[in-house]
Amino acid sequence: MRFMTDTWLVFSRAMRLSLRNPVWVILGLLQPILYLTLFGPLLEPVANAPGFPPGTAWQVFVPGLLVQLAVFGAAFAGFGLIAEWRAGVVERMRVTPASRGALLLGRVLRDVVVIVVQGAMLSLVAVVFFGLEAPMGSLIAGVAIVALLGGAFSALSYGTALKLKSEDSFAPVINGLLLPILLLSGILLPMALAPGWLQTVADVNPLTHVVDGVRALYIDDLASNEVVIGSAVTVGLLLVGVLYGSWVFRKESA
């Protein structure tokens, strides 16, 4: 009970700040919409090529963009925490009896809400302007999976940020990890097109399975292995992220 109240307090404080500056939510959408407009059309002729996974170009491409949106948006959340730490806000909260887990989870929850809004807007734009065809339930489930994935990355990001406590070391760490993880997940082009060795490496990357899962959702393959594996991997990542993040919040001398 106490934990819920504390989480709600931290969440509403963070949410209030985000709502005061909704420009960032829109700016975060700009990149995926540019991809949709400027890169998506290139995929249309390729969609019929041998090796391209089942589904239309948009059914393959939009899931990748959703994952990218969530991962990028969440992974940089740590920057805000470093600023808060520097202002003494984190330490001030750690002296209160509030649960350490709540200090993390309230912030993660705010990021999840932002990703849900952005994901819904991106899906809507894809359906209305680019002719993405997918059942309503699949679109909603896709946003839900991606939101949980975002939660995982935001928790990891907060944990890393509080460990490093410096933008100068945080930025290269996050960039250095994100780029290979995203390239190896078949976000832009399906990994089915890749040579054997690259596919093997990509199979180890948990994000590959999340992307594949959402793609399977969009072609209405609800009970397929991909959907089950993708959801399980997402929940697993979320668990790892939250455990790591709350461990840092509990241990770290902020």
Binding site: R2, T5, D6, L9, R13, R16, L17, R20, E84, R86, A87, G88, V89, E91, R92, M93, R94, V95, T96, P97, A98, S253, A254
Partner: protein, 330 residues
């Protein structure tokens, strides 16, 4: 409410760097009674903040134990957190958040009801001269206002014990004096026990009932400001006389004075130290009248805490600050 607010026994903290262990706090033993204002005095790097962070549950001690506000620091850190307030050295508010929201949210983290949190916050804003700042973003407040906001935040849940880390650093003289008034009022109005660190001698002198002097991770002296000063050096007395003949007479009188040091004759002046200048002087002056010697001037110079620190640690507070900066720069 416990009668003794802090009992620290052998508290120590070791930092492990790559190769070596650094003992930031070697051994800290002291007690703070309910309602006291106690100053923790020492140069930068002496272990003040580390001790404070241990006592406020932010840092786990490497050894020793402590009872804080009636709860065991190691066994019941949550109990400690519930009863204390802490105002950190570097501030505590988000520049983008409105002052009123910050203080209400903070109180709510202690489980305070929303309406009570708002009431307490508004009352503290009035008491700490923050009227009209409720809806202002923290970044738009002046340094002094923001510091007072930090202190209001530390008090909003009405803790029995408040820790203030360098409360007046960075404030102009007027704001400092103003802040001292507020801190002194905490005890008289609310019965709050105050434990503060400072490296300003005048602050410790004006504000504190008792002072703990820490140097290099050890408490090297403790007592009331006056007691400490008396213990280390007596008052310095300088008597100006009319001529050389008088100095010899006065020097002879001084040598009979209880506790006085060997008088030094310097031209027509006689200098000496005596434990209680204020009570020794009238006696001396009366004796001088009997011997027909007049003083043209009398100076009694009370020793400052700077003198105390110098004698206790072999260096002045300012030296300590400089060497700490040097170390940071190196």
């Amino acid at each position: 409410m416990p009668e003794t607010m802090i009992v620290s026994r052998g508290l120590r903290r070791v930092y492990k760097t790559n190769r070596q262990e650094v003992e930031a706090v070697r051994r800290v033993d002291f007690a703070v009674e309910q309602g006291e204002i106690v100053g923790f005095l020492g140069p930068n790097g002496a272990g003040k903040t580390t001790t404070l962070r241990m006592l406020t549950t932010l840092l786990e001690p490497s050894g020793g134990e402590a009872m804080v506000a009636g709860s065991d620091l190691r066994l019941d850190p949550l109990g400690v957190r519930r009863s204390i307030g802490y105002v950190a050295q570097g501030g505590s508010t988000d520049p983008e958040v409105r002052a009123g929201e910050e203080i209400v949210d903070h109180a709510r983290m202690y489980g305070t009801e929303l309406s009570v949190a708002r009431g307490n916050g508004e009352a503290l804003f009035r008491q700490l001269d923050l009227d009209g700042m409720w809806d202002r973003r923290c970044k738009t407040l002046s340094g002094g206002q923001r510091r007072r906001l930090d202190i209001a935040m530390g008090l909003v849940h009405q803790p029995q014990l408040i820790f203030l880390d360098e409360p007046s650093t960075g404030l102009d003289p007027q704001s400092r004096a103003n802040l001292w008034e507020h801190i002194a009022r905490l005890r008289t109005d609310l019965g709050t026990t105050v434990f503060l660190t400072t490296h300003y001698m005048d602050e410790a002198d004006v504000l504190c009932d008792r002072i703990l002097v820490i140097d290099d991770g050890l408490i090297v002296a403790q007592g009331t400001p006056d007691g400490l000063k008396r213990k280390v050096a007596g008052d310095s007395v300088v008597l100006s006389l009319e001529d050389q003949r008088s100095t010899v007479v006065v020097a002879e009188l001084v040598s009979h004075l209880e506790g006085a040091t060997e008088p030094v004759i310097d031209g027509t002046e006689v200098r000496f130290q005596v434990p209680e200048g204020a009570s020794a002087l009238p006696m001396l002056l009366r004796a001088m009248v009997e011997r027909n010697v007049d003083a043209t001037g009398v100076q009694v110079h009370r020793p400052t805490l700077d003198d105390v620190f110098l004698i206790m640690t072999g260096r002045s507070l300012r030296d300590g600050a400089e060497s700490a900066t040097d170390r940071a720069a190196a």
